[in-house]
């Protein structure tokens, strides 16, 4: 859309929203949030950018096709799922936890990486869907 107001507002909102999405992702284990909502927020940030600056620019910011995030995210989730099986001789999806928790995020463990995988997949697939539609309009 040809509007300076939206354009500049969204260019400032984009980093903030992305930051917010990471925040939502990381705190999910302790408070409402998590990979899915976090991923949606991030996707929405890019969609907003696509609305205001046009699809091409939004794609340029991403540098690669958002679809690429899907296998990447799924790999992350998959690896965090099977790593206990491979490395620790424990059943699939068993949580492996670091000794000490850290602030904001809390305990660091394989479920966190799993959630990050979810986050990436959600961004990837939502953006693939919306960008594809926008392109075909």
């Amino acid at each position: 859309m040809r509007t300076i107001i939206l354009k500049s507002a969204s260019s400032y909102l984009l980093p903030v929203l992305l930051l917010f999405s990471v925040f939502i992702l990381l705190r999910g284990h302790y408070l409402p949030g998590g990979g899915f909502v976090g991923g949606l927020v991030a996707a929405i940030a890019f969609v907003l950018d696509a609305f205001s600056n046009g699809l091409d620019k939004a794609k340029k910011i991403l540098k690669f096709h958002p679809g690429f995030l899907m296998p990447v995210g799924l790999s992350v989730a998959f690896l965090s799922g099977i790593s206990p099986l491979v490395f620790a001789d424990l059943p699939m999806m068993t949580g492996i936890w670091a000794e000490n928790p850290i602030p904001v995020i809390g305990a660091i463990g394989s479920p966190l990486f799993f959630d990050i995988g979810v986050y990436l997949v959600v961004i990837g697939s939502s953006l693939t869907i919306i960008f594809t539609i926008s392109e075909s309009l």
Binding site: M1, R2, T3, I5, L6, A9, Y12, L13, F20
Partner: protein
């Protein structure tokens, strides 16, 4: 002291929200409704959020409330602007008692380019009214 602040902020907030609601119902055209909506509601919700920040008096809550307020204050006018201009595009007319319309005939209908004030006014017939099905 804090309690009183909560009474005030929440009370005022609720009032402003109610105001926005009544305004949205009563105002005669889209632009006025958008106008009322954006301001009163934004302020009202800001106040309500402040009330909760006051209630919890906790850093994390306060920062979040501030974040929400700032966010609303950034986004509300932007969306008001978007909706307002869209309303003009699709040809929603101004209230009959409206006083002046500087925007009339300024939009190029096909490109949505908007002219400045000094340019010649033409293509007035382009802003014929249309409404959503």
């Amino acid at each position: 002291m804090n309690d009183i602040l909560i009474y005030i902020t929440s009370g005022l907030g609720a009032l402003f929200v109610l105001l926005a609601a009544i305004g949205t119902l009563r105002m005669p055209d889209q632009y006025l409704r958008i106008s009322v909506n954006t301001k009163a509601a934004t302020l009202g919700v800001g106040l309500l959020l402040t009330a909760s920040a006051l209630f919890f008096l906790d850093l994390s809550v306060t920062t979040r409330v501030i974040a929400v307020i700032i966010f609303i204050f950034i986004t509300a006018p932007v969306s008001a602007h978007l909706i307002g201009r869209t309303s003009y595009f699709i040809g929603n007319k101004l209230w009959e008692n409206s006083y002046i319309d500087d925007l009339k005939g300024k939009y190029n209908k096909s490109t949505h380019e908007l002219k400045g004030l000094n340019k010649r006014k033409n293509n007035e017939e382009e802003t014929e009214s249309k409404s959503e099905s």
